[in-house]
Symmetry: C2
Subunit: 332 residues, 2 copies
């Protein structure tokens, strides 16, 4: 009744922002992501009748209350439901990167919880089943971390959500030269979570419909760009889609401004480096960190330039990474 899983984070190249079903976590638009090899979560789950409540220890801290704990318990309930077990659980989870600062910690976290949890409950899910389960965690983008490489989370059309899950566009070794430089500019927890933020946007942004229409076009371009390894198209489309999402966030009431001063400094720097011939593009999730998409050959130059920006606390150089896997290295 104990299992441990490791899952990688993913960074969306075409963003997910807004649900059509809040209970089943069905998205208003399809999204595309890259699973990263360097940002991961390892999670051990044990179901046992000795526990009289669900215990969650995240990065060595026991969660006593709050949205994260509630989401985790709800997800454990879902795992118990599909597995037909009743035991409560102890969960120990570690991220190798800062939590809840726009680095997709919840995606890798809920994927690892889904895989370790179902295994500990005696169930073996296939990739599609795992992705549907992870999607329902309330951190929808966890659906994508269930698959390695270049991934599309299908929007789906069915009311029951059985056709909304992640599929692989191409495996990690399809494009081994692609790099994503993840900068960390702030480790402060964001004020408004992605979950709360996207619900506000759907309800209040005058730009939301335009965002959806543009995202649908961007998704087609991105899928083609990835398959053709067309770096310019992938970079431009990712950047433009990211800007559309942030524009839509900014027009939410109250306004969601996830950018920090250093975020903006990196944005302007990337635009100016590109003007000077260094081909790189940025993407930013619901947080202040900037991820830079580039090719392997330009990593040393970019790393040097990024280190000269005062607010950049850390740079993590990622390649396309694989899907989640089980391990025997239990955390307790």
């Amino acid at each position: 009744m104990k299992a441990t899983a490791i899952a990688n984070a993913n960074i969306a190249l075409i963003k997910y922002w807004g649900k059509r079903d809040e209970k089943l976590i069905l998205p208003n638009n399809g999204s595309v992501s890259l699973t990263l090899d360097k940002l991961n979560t390892i999670t051990t789950v044990e179901f046992d009748k000795k526990y009289d409540k669900d215990i969650l220890i995240l990065d060595d801290q026991e969660l006593k209350e709050g949205e994260e704990l509630e989401k985790a318990i709800k997800h454990l309930d879902l795992i118990r439901e599909i597995s037909g077990i009743k035991e409560l659980a102890k969960v120990v989870s570690k991220n190798n990167f800062p939590t809840a600062a726009g680095l997709a910690s919840s995606a890798s976290g809920f994927t690892a919880l889904s895989l370790a949890g179902t295994k500990a409950a005696g169930k073996d899910l296939d990739q599609k089943e795992l992705s549907i389960l992870a999607r329902r965690s309330g951190s929808g983008s966890a659906a994508r971390s269930c698959v390695g490489g270049f991934v599309e989370w299908l929007k789906g059309g069915k009311e029951d959500g059985t056709d909304s899950y992640a599929v692989q566009i191409a495996p990690p070794n399809h494009w081994p030269e692609l790099r994503m430089l993840t900068t960390i500019v702030s480790t402060v927890k964001k004020k408004v979570s992605s979950t709360a933020g996207m619900d506000l946007t759907v309800k209040t942004s005058p730009m939301y419909k335009a965002w959806l229409a543009a995202a649908a076009e961007d998704l087609e371009k991105m899928r083609k760009g990835v398959l053709n390894k067309d770096f310019k198209s992938v970079g431009k489309t990712a950047e433009s889609n990211c800007l559309n999402m942030h524009a839509t966030m900014i027009t939410t009431h109250p306004s969601l401004i996830y950018w920090m001063p250093t975020t903006l400094e990196i944005i302007h720097s990337v635009l100016s480096w590109r003007d000077q011939g260094l081909e790189c593009y940025f993407t930013i999730d619901a947080g202040p960190q900037v991820k830079i998409i580039c090719l392997e050959k330009d990593v040393p130059e970019l790393e040097k330039k990024l280190k000269n920006i005062k607010g950049v606390k850390k740079i993590i150089i990622c390649k396309p990474g694989g899907g989640p896997r089980l391990t025997d290295n239990h955390l307790f």
Copy 2:
């Protein structure tokens, strides 16, 4: 054949972004502004047959080429056309604030040029005629600087533009406690002018239609808010309209990101001060400077807080100001 005029800058509370007629400078949406008492341009125009070209001296520098010079010469041509004169002109103009950094220098500049130019050419225009002429300068918001206090630039509907000009919603003394703190965070000239920027947005932003629809609603709210001196409504509507405009700019191809790191720092500060009970709102034009809307009673506290933000180079405290006027203090 020589005349001098002083005109105040204005800051839009409901922004103008995008034209329906590029030749007559007819806007896609109506806008509302506050004419400010502290930011002004003084301009002397002399038409004389001794000049063998139009000479423009702006802030002690003769302009030899570029968009600004071309726009000024075109405007002098228009003044000559409506006045029936042929002489070329010498124009000397001074701003008491930095040019082309999003502080509406072109609005006060072209209003002063319109008034001094027509007077020097022997014409006396009424306010409506002056506003239509200033509008056609290519810096449309100059239409608004022709009127004092709280001003609406009517969108108009006619093809010839005769119904698109500025009218007063309320005079400066309607709301003498209102203040606008203009911060200067950068005096670098912006890369993309408002004129070029708005044309790009109209052509390429997927959010532009949504911007127009929201701006029309905002305008109605703003007019009512000003007439009722409803500070909260005026502040919230101005801030939201500004964010919608910047969102639309950001989604332009190529992206127009006028914010600088300090811009964003002030935005976050204003939002947090307001959370703490200090009622203030921001608005930002096509540039990095942030203007803070507040009431007289809160100026000392806000000024103190703003001075603690490292990137703030200057703070100018403005009240509602009057329309343009002639003076005998010629600059040459």
